[in-house]
């Protein structure tokens, strides 16, 4: 689904990594590991098209990169894109519908992530874990095959880590693919790619 070949990435004057290659197949979850500053987030942002790499190629199976990013890719980074002053319901509706969700998909995401009691609250009233669940809902509401996740479990308690793990497994079982930058083990990962120790 995704092939990276000979990727070199730097931020300003700092070289993050050189000549990195990896692939992500359908039905596979890969844990992206490495020390702080190694460039995990930058790699994910480059795959999402936010950063232009210095060298190398990023290819998506059977579709050109711009189209893949508009239709086939989910990105969930440290910043969740939620507006603190808006109701959770409005933000979920915007984020999901913008990415192409229908009302049934949104309702299913609300149900599986138990968001209903939170929907009439302002986003700023939610805890970090609740915000993460709200942000994650757009991935459930809008079917897209490739998930790029940056520390997906970070603010979650054990119960919701387990639930998100099950949702990730369900996504993989349906033929999706996940590349997740993690420090903790990713239970659904079939393998890990270590991008180094940072500089």
């Amino acid at each position: 689904m995704l092939t990276v070949a000979g990727l070199t990435l730097s931020r300003g004057e700092r070289l993050l990594f050189r000549d990195l290659s990896l692939s992500l197949a359908s039905g596979e979850a890969v844990a992206l590991t490495g020390a702080n500053g190694a460039g995990k987030t930058s790699l994910l942002r480059a795959l999402a098209g936010f950063i232009r790499p210095d060298a190398g190629s990023i290819a998506f199976a059977a579709v050109e990169p711009t189209e893949a990013r508009r239709r086939h890719l989910h990105w969930l980074g440290h910043l969740d894109g939620l507006k603190g002053g808006r109701r959770a319901r409005d933000e979920l509706a915007f984020q999901s519908r913008w990415l192409g969700a229908d009302p049934e998909g949104i309702a299913a995401a609300v149900d599986v992530l138990a968001l209903e009691p939170l929907l009439d609250l302002e986003v700023r009233q939610l805890s970090a874990g609740q915000r993460r669940r709200l942000a994650f809902a757009r991935l459930i509401a809008t079917p897209r095959p490739i998930w790029l996740l940056d520390e997906p479990f970070a603010p979650l308690d054990a119960r919701w880590r387990a639930v998100l793990g099950l949702l990730m497994q369900a996504h993989i079982d349906k033929g999706g693919a996940i590349l997740a930058a993690v420090h903790d083990p990713l239970p659904v990962a079939s393998r890990a790619v270590d991008i180094g120790g940072g500089r």
Binding site: R45, A48, G49, F50, I51, R52, R69, R70, R71, L73, H74, W75, G77, H78, L79, D80, G81, L82, K83, G84, G85, R86, D90, F94, Q95, R97, W98, L99, G100, R138
Partner: protein
């Protein structure tokens, strides 16, 4: 098209719900147009020849107030990343945001512009022309303002930078808009000045989406 409508409605909601929206811009505009006659000594006859120019200058300044909100908050909270992965090219996103800015700020300013201009000494008979020209000009302000807001993305003092980038771009519409009022006051047709104003808005509509989208991509990287 459906996705654009979703974004556009969200932008309108954000403009009305957050600070720096239409009420602030209109309040600033009215304050300026009240302050100028007071500062000029309260002589309406002396102010009348420059009233059109002052009204347009106030309109331009008021239009810059909420520009920082357009992209900066979306960059800060990650919403711009989400928007970039939507089905719509960033060029159309810039147009949608500028259009929402025009509706949320420009149109209310155009509605109250006749009141402010008459306060400055323009004849009440010019009210329709003032509102119409302000409506066109405000669309241009929104488009070039969106470009300025995109160029200033990620800078530490974005609001100030936007003003520095945008105000020179506002010179043509201020000149053409004030010119239309001046011609009408002199008994001439305002159409040539309005045509130039419209041409400038068209130019902004062609340039701002592409340059703005490029600036956004640069800021995300």
């Amino acid at each position: 098209m459906k996705a654009l409508l979703i974004l556009w409605r969200r932008e309108l909601a954000l403009a009305w719900s957050g600070g720096g929206g239409p009420l602030l811009a209109c309040g600033f505009f009215l304050c300026l147009t009240v302050l100028v006659p007071l500062a000029a000594g309260g002589d309406p006859a002396g102010l009348r020849p420059v009233a059109g120019g002052v009204a347009w200058l106030a309109l331009a300044l008021a239009s810059t107030l909420s520009l920082e909100r357009l992209f900066e908050r979306d960059l800060e909270d990650g919403a711009l990343d989400l928007i970039a992965l939507g089905p719509v090219p960033l060029e159309l996103v810039v147009i949608a945001k500028a259009n929402a800015q025009w509706l949320a700020v420009g149109v209310p300013l155009a509605v109250i512009a006749p009141i402010a201009a008459i306060t400055l000494g323009l004849p009440p008979g010019q009210a329709p022309l003032i509102a119409f020209s302000a409506l066109i000009g405000a669309l241009g302000f929104a488009l070039t303002g969106a470009l300025g807001a995109a160029l200033a993305l990620g800078s530490k003092r974005g609001g100030l930078l936007i003003a520095v980038v945008v105000l020179p771009l506002f010179i043509p519409p201020v000149v053409f808009g004030a010119g239309a009022l001046e011609r009408a006051a002199g008994g001439l047709s305002p159409l040539p000045a309005l045509a130039l104003l419209s041409a400038w808005v068209l130019f902004a509509a062609l340039v701002a989406p592409f340059a703005g989208a490029a600036a956004i991509r640069n800021a995300q990287g």
